[in-house]
Structure formats: structure tokens, C-alpha cells
Amino acid sequence: MQTADRRPTDLETSGPASASDYRRWFLRGVRASVSVPLLILMSAFVGFAGLAREAGISLGEAVFMTGIVWALPAKVVLIGAIMTGASLPAAAFAVALTSVRLTPMVVSIVPELRAPGTRPVVLYLLSHFVAVTSWVLAMEHMRAVPRPMRTAWYCGLGGALVLVNMVVVAVVYSVAGSLPPTLSAALLMLTPLYFLTSLWGSARESASHLAMAFGLVLGPLFHVLTPGFDLMAAGVVGGTAAYLLHRVGRRGRRRGGEGAA
């Protein structure tokens, strides 16, 4: 990537960084956002805009949600909850459950971002940009950024990702109503396809793969059995079952040696 051009900067060796250094690295962060992951993310937000429109959410609300929540699974679950008419506490609980995973992501990025003397408030503000795509890009490229410039660089990267996708949502939302039915159907298929593939790819352990399979089947099942409570029921039942099976499988492997599972 562009940020990898590691001309020896004077930052590491000499005196205090100037405002122009910050500006330069901020812009390099912006440039680093132009990438294949951004392209994939944009296609996901195209789908999100179509979904938000179908859910009866206004353009302003959809763009606001994009900027303020940012993590896409949290937004898709929030819209799912809105569509089923869930109450505020139920919706918040479902969103919180998908966002717990952000904590370990932030935990792992903070030591990379922080330089001696970085104020905590800067880290709290920058943590808002943490979601899968910016995290992946940062972990990939941040080592090539001089430590005192990393907060400026990540601000450029994260800010650019959020802004571009707010624009994508606004534009797609505006034209989605005038699409022919075939394209409109294809637009609404983007979100399931994106999550089905990216969720599978980001799963680290068998528990997550099992949980995905259970959730896919249990979601529609509970939609019929317990309408209004379907997401929570599927999440809790599917997730718990997947976790327990994962533990049983691991214990079996341990007892039986390799290949027993």
C-alpha cells in the first residue's frame, strides 16, 4: 500500500512533531483507506441502504445510524429489531450482544496506536472508528507508520471509511426507490450475501461456524414460533448450543488425542 513507502522520516530521530507532520500522516491514512476491503465494505453499505429504506427508516436516520453506530452487524441487528417492532431495551440488548466483540478488537489495537504522551481522550474518540474493516487495514499497515503519527494516520483512515460510506448510504437510499424490481431485489440480497461470507471468514473457532449454521436455521424458525422475540431466542439458543458443542468437541479431542474429533 501507499503507506508502506518508508522513507526514513526525521520523526523517529529528532524533535517535536509539527502540525504539518500530523497533516501529512492524516492524509496518508485517508489514502490507505482506498483498498479492496473498502470496495467490499461499500457494497455492504449499498445493501444496508436498501435494507434501511425497506424497513421504513428515513434517509436522515439511515445516514445518522451509519456515522454514529458504524459497526455493520450492530446496524443490521438494530434494523432487524426495528422491523419486528422490538422495544428499546430488547433492541439495545440485541445490539450490545453483537458489539461485545468490539472490546477485544479495541484492546488489541490500543497498544499499537498509543505513543508516549497520547491523551486517553484521543484513544476514546478514535475507538469509535473500530469495526472489522478499519481494524484489518490498521493491523496490516500501522507498523509502517512512525509511532507518534499513528493516531493522526488512524484518524484519517477511520474518518475516510466512515464518511465515504455515509455518502454511499445517502446516494443509494435516494435512488433505491426508482430501481426496477429486479435490481431492487438484487440490492436486498447484498446484505445476506455479504454477511454469510464475511462472517464465515472472520470466525476463529468451530463454535462460531456452528453458531452461524444454527442461527441461520433458528432465525426463521423462531420468527414463526415466537414473533417479536425471534432474534434473541435464536441468538441465545443457537449460540449456547454451538458453544457447548464446541466445548464437548474440544474435550473429546483432548482425551482421545489428535484426530479423535
Binding site: 457494497s43 436498501g50 425497506e54 436516520e61 445518522f64 454514529i68 458504524w70 459497526a71 429489531a81 426495528i82 422495544s87 428499546l88 431495551p89 433492541a91 440485541a94 450482544l97 453483537t98 458489539s99 461485545v100 468490539l102 472490546t103 477485544p104 479495541v106 490500543v110 497498544p111 476514546y124 475507538s127 431492487s184 431485489a185 436486498l188 440480497m189 447484498l190 445476506p192 450475501l193 455479504y194 454477511f195 454469510l196 461470507t197 464475511s198 462472517l199 464465515w200 462460531s208 453458531a211 452461524m212 442461527g215 441461520l216 433458528l218 432465525g219 426463521p220 420468527h223 432474534l231 435464536a234 441468538g235 441465545v236 439458543v237 449460540g239 449456547t240 454451538a242 458453544y243 464446541h246
Partner: protein, 119 residues
Amino acid sequence: MSFAAFDVWWWPYAFILAAGWLATDGFRFLGVYFGGRIADDSEALVAVRALATALVAAVIGNLVVFPSGSLAEAPVAMRLFSVAAGFAGYLVLRRSVLAGILTGEAVLLAGLYLIGFGT
């Protein structure tokens, strides 16, 4: 107190702030607060990840089986087949998310064209 509970302009925004922003940035802030004190592979986190994955997967399942808008007019078998094709494409084509999305969309559009959808 649902999203449509009050007919004032600010209520949806308040709902998004409380149910969306607070519940999301709260966990980000917690991560900054903890710094480097949580192990990424701790048992509790594996369990939480499993719950969250099942929850998001449940939303995906519902979006395919009980979709809204014009996707609802497409036969359910065609929707399921397109998604399965997209996932197969993803697995076969070097686990590329982009390839999976394109395969699934191509199959859906071809199917819709064959049944004369929307004409």
C-alpha cells in the same frame, strides 16, 4: 417503547442513540479502558462471540426466508439457491467475499430473468 412509538421527529434518533450508539461505543470505550488486560481467546469471549454470531446469522436467515420489498416477490427456493450458490462461490474462489457476493447476485439475476420477474 418501540422505534415507531412516538410521533415526533427526534424519537427515532433518540432510539438509534440509545439502542445503537450506546450499546456499540460502550464496548469500544471499555476496550480502551481495559488497554491490554483481556486475552482475546478467553473462554467467556468465545461464548459471547458464539452468541453474537448466532444472532447475526438469525438476522441473515430472516432476510432470506422472510425478506421485504421486491425480494419477497422472488420464489423462496430461488432466494435460498442464490444464497447457497454465493456461499459455494465464496468457498471455491479462494474464500473471496467479493467473489461470493458476485456469484450469488449473478445466480439471482439469472433466475429472475428466466422467470420474467417484474415484467
